[in-house]
Assembly symmetry: C2
DNA sequence: ATGAAAGCGCTAACAT
DNA sequence: ATGTTAGCGCTTTCAT
């Protein structure tokens, strides 16, 4: 009740106020150990009166747990990561953990510094969407020191033994491609920002390695697989390569349209690329879905607003974050998970931009 | 170099390894106090060898500063707040601070718990976009305890003496309204989710109080002011009231369109309301900008993608966050700011959806 | 310049 | 059930 300017009220203050020993006060305040109903009451009331607020720092020092997890991601302002972060914080909170965020902008040095800094702050565990780099030493250092790390949606070969929570990118692309095939399309173009050469993709070790590919590459792979499965011939010319920016995608699709490659469907493997591709299609006044069926990536707001609305592959972002947190928390509690990796399915949301070819 | 499984290497370990006393090691490790070049080297090398990582928790305990600031916001997944958070983390980082995020979902209880929890973790300061409520006791409690708090974009009357960093909402609306007036529009409709009655708005104490109004109300006020300033009559019928959701805005605009109110321009005061209004306009096949000029709020991606592209009011989100952080950090350093409140200007981005009335 | 010792606020044996 | 004591890892007087 009293609002005094307390630099901070400690257990000792409470103990004194309650007329008991420090440890008695500590016992009731922390809820462990035994205390008589009498002291219980006196301490509680004293704490209340003084406005006692436990010092989590001190607690963390002795308990060895800060009840904080670190999220190290490329960019919170990016819709994918902000939604994921939300899932992460939600799951963390319900377990009594807070999360501290750090943006890397896909810079390896920044990532390394962030990890180091958060490790100094004694984060109990890390969820990291790592920068693509050969030797993520900062991460391995953490792991060696016994700090739990869960990878988010990306894994480098050097991190092969770390648990990963990701979207099933291969499946996502199969979903899109098969949907188009079932509609009757045969000449299906794909816009990809995968840096890998397509030829490398068709002779892959069936499983484990796949998760060490970039998401974009996995998506390209899903397309190739779906085509193969359904006996549709893969035409290299229909693999439109783009950088990771809308302008580049726009140019790539524009060029493809000009080239008269005769494709009847276009599948975009990424949000930003979808943007550029959509612009190119609009520029060329192509009729969608009459001339070309269009599938975008990520259920962005605008895809429901344009006419025709756009069929998209939706990633379970929130769930991705909460799964990562849950996975990490389990590790903190030394619970062995059923599977090391978690691979969440994407969904196809059919809208107006897809139809059978004319 | 050595990668041993160190539960954690402490100053003592380093001191022993370097063959000096604990305090000597601590001195060079913390960079304060004096040490001979010799010990300096020996300690540094020992630390390096052992892979010493300072324990920020312990440091915080004794120094009284955790170098952490808390961001308590409605929802990170919301584009406005995620962009703001990015600005916040950027500014914080460059000052050596990390930020820990908490979502309130505009729930007063959740907010109170978050604040309490983060206070227990001894965040050095708080940036909070408070839930609208009469008695934000959790916040005042912090302030009473001497913890720096900066308000983000919202302020309740009860929090009148706290520093505020916000967008100039009144100015934002004046910008939009005046732009339309200058184009020649006289019948300008506004879509608002402000709960306040319009009549209350025209007799306001000129300044201070304004910042205690909700953003939506301030935006409505700017519209009224611009109209007044330019001698354009305010027509109550053109104030379209909506709830804070797209469906409601869609219905409101739809009804207005049906009612034949004869407005030639429509200004939407909020991102979500812009969405609904846009849908209504599309539903009714109104020609934009020929029949109606349209101004949206927030520079959302889709506003550049639809045809015609949409003229919008753009809020300086990133800057808002960095300004809030900077303001808070100044307070932490006991620097008196020039002004208590910071009011960042919004900008108008002219695109295709606005034109002179026919 | 260096070491010894106290203490930040808390928990956890250990006695009593 | 309660009190005494040690100690988490660090910084900071205070001597030397």
């Amino acid at each position: 009740m009293v609002s005094r300017r307390n630099q901070s009220v400690t257990v000792i203050d409470v103990a004194r106020e309650a007329g008991v020993s420090k440890s008695s006060a500590a016992r009731v305040l922390s809820g462990r150990g035994s205390a008589s109903p009498a002291t219980q009451r006196r301490v509680t009331e004293a704490a209340q009166r003084l406005g006692y607020r436990p010092n989590a720092l001190a607690r963390a020092m002795v308990s060895g747990s800060s009840h904080t997890i670190a999220a190290v991601i490329p960019d919170v302002a990016n819709a994918f990561f902000s939604a994921t972060l939300r899932g992460l914080t939600d799951a963390a909170r319900s377990a009594g953990f807070e999360v501290i965020v750090s943006n890397t902008d896909n810079d390896a040095d920044v990532e390394a510094r962030s990890l180091e800094l958060l490790a100094e702050k004694r984060a109990d565990g890390f969820v990291v969407a790592p920068v693509f780099q050969d030797a993520p030493e900062a991460i391995t250092r953490l792991v060696e020191d016994g700090t739990p790390v869960v990878l988010l949606d990306r894994r480098m070969p050097a991190l092969a033994d770390l648990p990963l929570v990701s979207v099933d990118h291969v499946g996502a692309s199969r979903l899109a491609t098969e949907y188009l095939i079932e509609l009757g399309h045969r000449r299906i173009a794909i816009v990809t920002e995968a840096p890998d050469r397509l030829t490398d993709l068709r002779e892959l070790p069936p499983d484990a390695e796949i998760s060490s590919l970039r998401p974009s590459t996995q998506r390209l792979l899903g397309y190739v697989q779906a085509l193969d499965d359904h006996g549709v011939e893969l035409d290299q010319d229909l693999v439109l390569e783009s950088d990771y920016d809308a302008g580049s995608a726009r140019a790539a699709v524009s060029a493809a349209l000009d080239a008269g490659l005769g494709f009847t469907a276009l599948y975009c493997t990424d949000a930003i690329v979808t943007l550029g591709a959509y612009n190119a299609v609009a520029d060329h006044q192509v009729a969608v879905p009459d001339d070309i069926s269009f599938i975008g990536f990520d259920d962005q707001e605008w895809t429901t607003l344009v006419r025709p609305s756009i069929t998209v592959i939706d990633q379970p972002r929130h769930e991705l974050g909460s799964a990562a947190a849950t996975r990490l928390l389990a590790q903190l509690r030394d619970i062995d998970p059923d599977e090391r990796d978690l691979r969440l399915p994407a969904h196809l949301i059919p809208r107006e931009s897809t139809a059978p070819p004319r």
